[in-house]
């Protein structure tokens, strides 16, 4: 259920929270950019399944994303890391699940899981490619090296997102931060990955599989 939490910055942020003050409290750090939208229904359904399995969970917005009142253009990997650390403290999380690019910004001190973590360069390459393709359709020629150079100094508009220079530079260098968290692979959830879908979809069976893995391993 939507709840506000005190995030660093000018305003509180929202989170989807299923909290009955139980022993295992899972912070879910979402994927980045379009993959966040494509996996949202899957993650909220995973929260419902976790609730039924006796696990509390919180899915906070990253500042500048989803329902956040903050500007996307003001964000960096650093601001997202600070925000997720603050959310972990506020909700007294005992475990963490980082999804895809969320593995670049999650609180690493918590035990838990990373779902198919993604390197920052892979995310950036895909965003740059989308921009170059769109430019080509419009009859303009752009190239990766020049865009990256521009982005590192002035920031860059990519696929509808205005990335700060700090976010471009951060993504270009960032590796998944997992330190002992267990990597969950898509093959464990079955079927095709929902973050690949060009149109957001849902698959209750995948959400159920993810919830079962987390509930079983958290109490092991």
């Amino acid at each position: 259920m939507p709840t506000t939490w005190p995030c660093p910055g000018p305003a509180d942020e929202l989170a989807v929270v299923l909290d009955r003050a139980r022993r295992v409290r899972l912070l879910i750090v979402p994927a980045l950019f379009e993959e966040m939208n494509r996996t949202r229904r899957m993650l909220v359904e995973t929260q419902r399944r976790l609730d039924a399995l006796g696990v509390d969970s919180m899915l906070p917005d990253l500042p500048g994303c989803n329902e956040s009142p903050q500007a996307f253009a003001a964000q960096s990997l650093g601001s997202w890391r600070d925000a997720m650390a603050a959310a972990a403290r506020h909700f007294a999380a005992t475990h963490v699940l980082a999804v895809r690019g969320g593995a670049l910004v999650f609180p690493t001190a918590l035990p838990g899981w990373v779902l198919e973590p993604q390197r920052g360069t892979s995310i950036l390459r895909q965003l740059l490619r989308a921009r170059i393709l769109a430019a080509k359709e419009a009859g303009r020629v752009e190239n990766t090296a020049d865009l990256l150079e521009q982005g590192r100094h002035q920031g860059l508009g990519l696929a509808g997102y205005q990335l700060s220079a700090a976010l471009v530079a951060g993504l270009d260098a960032a590796l998944p931060q997992d330190e002992g968290q267990r990597v969950i692979r898509q093959s464990e959830l079955g079927a095709g990955a929902l973050w690949l879908r060009s149109e957001p979809g849902e698959d209750p069976a995948q959400s159920a599989a993810l919830a079962r893995i987390i509930a079983a391993e958290a109490s092991a």
């Binding site: 490619r129 696929a159 060009s198 149109e199």
Partner: protein
């Protein structure tokens, strides 16, 4: 068809995952099935995701210069492009 069956099967799986086709629609794709320009969900962001996934699953590198309407026009075009990348054609 000069492409190996394995390449064809893998490419159908990628398209199925990216476009959410399901097994029946993925299996029904023919060489003439239209892709870019024919499928509204295949916008530039979706194409970028599709190409990245093709690179990962086929272990090839696709240069941005190589990407155009000819290579993505139909299923047959895309399959032939990948086969060339893999040295099968």
């Amino acid at each position: 068809m000069i492409q190996t069956t394995e390449t064809d099967t893998l490419l159908r799986a990628v398209l199925s995952d990216v476009l959410g086709l399901g097994p029946a629609r993925a299996a029904a794709l023919t060489a003439d099935s239209g892709l870019f320009g024919a499928l509204p969900e295949l916008d530039s962001m979706a194409v970028a995701g599709l190409l990245t996934e093709i690179e990962d699953r086929f272990d090839v590198v696709i240069d941005d210069d190589e990407v155009d309407g000819d290579m993505l026009g139909t299923y047959g075009d895309l399959l032939a492009f990948i086969a060339r990348k893999l040295g099968q054609a």
